[in-house]
């Protein structure tokens, strides 16, 4: 959001006229650790994608390619749920460094 609008410029009743506008709000700076993707261990089961509370697992043509770090809060659910290949995870969490 750039500038505060005057009330007359807003929709009646405080309606938000377009859906899904939260994508413009960045929550990535809440993160204290970040997920790292290791494609060689990925079986494309999509568990990471379906359980991410922040819709932050990026898919291209139905396949995991990485994470949207503007939204990812670093909860670690994706890494925890990831079965990986031969018990080696395709997602690991790494501490954020300032």
């Amino acid at each position: 959001m750039s500038e505060l609008k005057k009330y007359k410029e807003l929709a009646l009743g405080g309606n938000i006229e377009k859906g899904g506008t939260a994508v413009d709000f960045k929550t990535g700076d809440w993160r204290s650790s970040r997920p790292i993707y290791h494609p060689e261990n990925c079986i494309q089961c999509l568990f990471c994608w379906v359980y991410c509370p922040d819709s932050a697992v990026i898919l291209k043509d139905g396949k995991v390619t990485g994470f949207n770090l503007d939204h990812c809060k670093g909860c670690g659910i994706c890494a925890h749920e990831c079965p990986g290949k031969k018990k080696v995870k395709a997602i690991t969490m790494e501490e954020e460094v300032k």
């Binding site: 670690g76 890494a79 749920e81």
Partner: protein, 307 residues
Amino acid sequence: MANLKELAARGDKFTGGHRACAGCGATIVARQALLAAGDKPVVTTCATGCLEVVSTIFPYTAWDVPFIHSAFENSAATISGVEAAYQSLKRQGTVTEDIRFMAFGGDGGTYDIGLQALSGAMERGHNMLYICYDNQAYMNTGIQRSSATPKGSSTTTSPNGKKIPGKVQFRKNLTEIMAAHGIPYVAQSVVGNWSDFTKKVEKALAKGGPAFIAILQPCRLGWGYPPELTAELGRLAVETNFWPLYEVEDGQYKLNHTPKERQPIDEWMFQQERFRHLKRPEHQAIIAQIQQDIDARWEQLNKKCSL
């Protein structure tokens, strides 16, 4: 039922950029419910509570579907009114589309303050699905006990103190109250079993008429556990029989999962800060009572399922 590839192809209708805690289970509920609702148009509402508050901070909204902001107590009334208006417009020929109606509410907004509105909407027979995301306390206002809070749980209004170790009462069984309404579809699901939840949302929406799903939702803040365990603690609640996965379709009870080996309840409880005080030896009797209650409820449910 849609598989994960099909769900992924639909694309998200609940976006990132909302302000829920890292690892929040409530937003997983909303995301997966909208994915399961599929490509048909859907109108949604949510009772005041974490899910609504974190997802609709002006001028942002995480809902990429029509969404109405409800008060704490009237999510069911809101959506039933919209559905009634839709039926009228459809009769008049103004609207021709096939539209689905979904209401969300927390346990406080559903088991407690919204119970009248919900009961009324179900009795009137609206074509709507009500999803209660049950995190077992009033989380958004700072973790107060609700009638869904389990016995022994320490909340800000049922604190673990010198005399009383957490909530005294057992939790209310809302799913059974909803089943007693005799509506076409009632079910229990859990965060941590995406396929069970997807199946139930699809079924509820396809059935027509009023439907109710209670989904147990681990809350890392109110329950007190590391955020990566959200889905796992949901599944463990099922494996202890604390939260059985079952459905009641046209009056027929059906168990959807029987644990291979029932896990003792403390396996689940002691991973959570809200029950930590019960680890003390003097509280063993409370754990035993809780276990007894779970076993009794499980037996009752199994009887209903074998009828």
